[in-house]
Symmetry: C2
């Protein structure tokens, strides 16, 4: 394994991610051109490349953390990000397939400050566009000129199924009031850890790393994914609306059983009990009520725990990197990415 | 290529299909065991293996034409159906993924004389169970111990995308009154031809046939698929409710632009014009009205055309078999299958 210096042009996380997007986007646009006109327009809208009428736009097409990670790992393994490109395209396609389906299932009307696909074109179209992106992900990997294509395809299929399992658990939790921490972490590892794990793993696989090294990169991505989810959960309660695109306390208002909430219920003593009573109350809570619930999570220690746990997960990610053989010189861009994930918008 | 005698135990289509089901079902059950309990229960219900509470049932789990075809082709190519088994499992998984999503999109409440997944467990669950089956299809092919696994995976991904494109067109047609025959055939080749094409193609690929032979088997499956769709469209108008599980004239009542209807509109002269006027009328048609529309399709020649066209597609399928190198001795089971598809329940 070749340890590489971080490229001078990409030492900070935003530049790393932008570089990843630049390398992946041409292939991504190319593969989307296989879709029929209607499906392609909608996929392009979802990626932020055009408006609902197909007029080209430049705008946010998401952070592209997953392809960025794939390319970074490929570069760490073999000295150049190129072999990771099909992997980056595939994980970005799977990620967006899951976003389109999740927005529909959760009936979310906004994403990246724009209307969601189902809310513009209807349920059936959202299902089909999502399904089509998932197919394209398979095609990209099957077609890539790599002796490791089949292994990469298998890793992605397993991760995608894990991602779906996470969403199954998430939906089931909505109907339950006895969700424990273990299953909540399991759900988050499925929903967020699995695909970030696969993003790193695919970079390693396609760059020709040994299976044991690929597995460590997968662990790195999964731990980073859990840190990402913990921060996401904090932002879902205390995030600034102009940055998150969602109203403050939105996850509490929706009674979501996120990690800091479930931790508070389990370990938060009397504050946790009070929070459980609050969650059990039927009807739409008032703004004062929601604010009170946020205070309960804070007093129960859920906020502090989530912050500390995100840090712990970043440390575990670092340990996996070490075991994967990334040396001190090669670590800088990974550390940048970890910091970006753990400290974003907080 | 080895020409094989039809096995004495499977010379008739129902026996051929039952044999296919028997060979594929153990692997299918095995791969479904990877799913979480909730998702597995629902998938098992959909396959007809249990009731909504998970109590084992023996019942109709569909005709299993696709895996039957995969195994038949594998046997024709290499003398034994075994190499085709992972392909049979994969096409059956993709077929059922598409059924679960299609039932939701079409808001159909009954399938195989039972309630559909979305109508029992809701939209989100139907989306997720379908997505999970699609992932399992990839996994099965990626894992199979075959030097042709990657080619098979690619062929299936392309066919699945074609299938989705067919459904996109089908939904778009509902909003249009200018659908022409060419695009209607294109839609049917997508919705029904693509996966039957891949079912045959995967059998050939996994049995080690040359690419040109695989392509002929794909053509065979696509033509058979169009014949299947034409018969399905006839059954959707004139089928006996106790056999189809749907009320008589159901497709007409739903104003579906099926092949015989579109043919009648385009080539049916004054009857076609009358049918167009009927379709343009808003509101729910009366029973007399629907019966009148069926008479119009018949007088316009749509019924006769669809029957003749189904026969023509079966002939083209036979020609593809010949080009694939299936000799007279090996043809018998394929002819049985064609007859089964073209003459079922008419």
């Amino acid at each position: 394994m070749t340890a590489v210096e971080p490229m001078p042009s990409a030492t900070k996380a935003p530049e790393l991610l932008a570089r990843g997007r630049d390398l992946v986007e041409p292939s991504l646009r190319n593969v989307l051109s296989r879709l029929d006109d209607h499906t392609r327009l909608i996929a392009s809208y979802h990626f932020g490349w055009c408006d609902t009428d197909g007029r080209p736009m430049t705008g946010s097409s998401g952070k592209a953390i997953r392809p960025g990670l794939t390319l970074l790992v490929a570069e760490a393994v073999c000295g150049t990000p190129e072999p990771g490109i099909p992997g980056g395209v595939a994980v970005e396609l799977v990620h967006n397939f899951s976003l389109i389906h999740d927005d529909l299932m959760d009936r979310d009307t906004r994403r990246r400050h724009r209307r969601t696909v189902w809310s513009v074109w209807g349920d059936a179209t959202a299902i089909l566009v999502g399904d089509a992106l998932a197919c394209l992900a398979d095609e990209v990997l099957d077609e890539c000129d790599s002796p490791y294509a089949a292994r990469a395809g298998h890793a992605l299929a397993v991760a995608t199924r894990e991602l779906i399992r996470g969403q199954v658990l998430d939906l089931a939790f909505e109907q339950r009031d006895d969700v424990g921490m273990d299953e909540c972490v399991d759900m988050a590892l499925g929903k967020t850890g699995s695909l970030l794990g696969a993003s790193a793993e695919l970079g390693a696989i396609l760059a020709g790393a040994d299976p044991a090294v690929c597995e460590e990169f997968r662990s790195y991505g999964r731990e980073l994914g859990l840190a990402f989810q913990l921060v996401d959960d904090l932002l879902g309660i205390w995030g600034e609306p102009e940055k998150t695109g969602k109203p403050v306390f939105s996850d509490l208002r929706a009674h979501k059983k996120t990690l800091p909430v479930v931790w508070s219920l389990e370990y938060g003593g009397t504050y946790g009990q009070e929070l459980a009573d609050w969650l059990a109350k039927p009807g739409v809570p008032s703004e004062d009520d929601v604010q009170r619930a946020a205070v309960l999570v804070e007093r129960a220690g859920g906020r502090e725990w989530a912050l500390a746990e995100a840090g712990e997960r970043v440390r575990r990610a670092g340990r996996a990197l070490y075991l994967a053989g990334v040396d001190a010189a090669g670590r800088a861009p990974f550390d940048e990415l970890s910091r970006f994930v753990a400290e974003r918008q907080l």
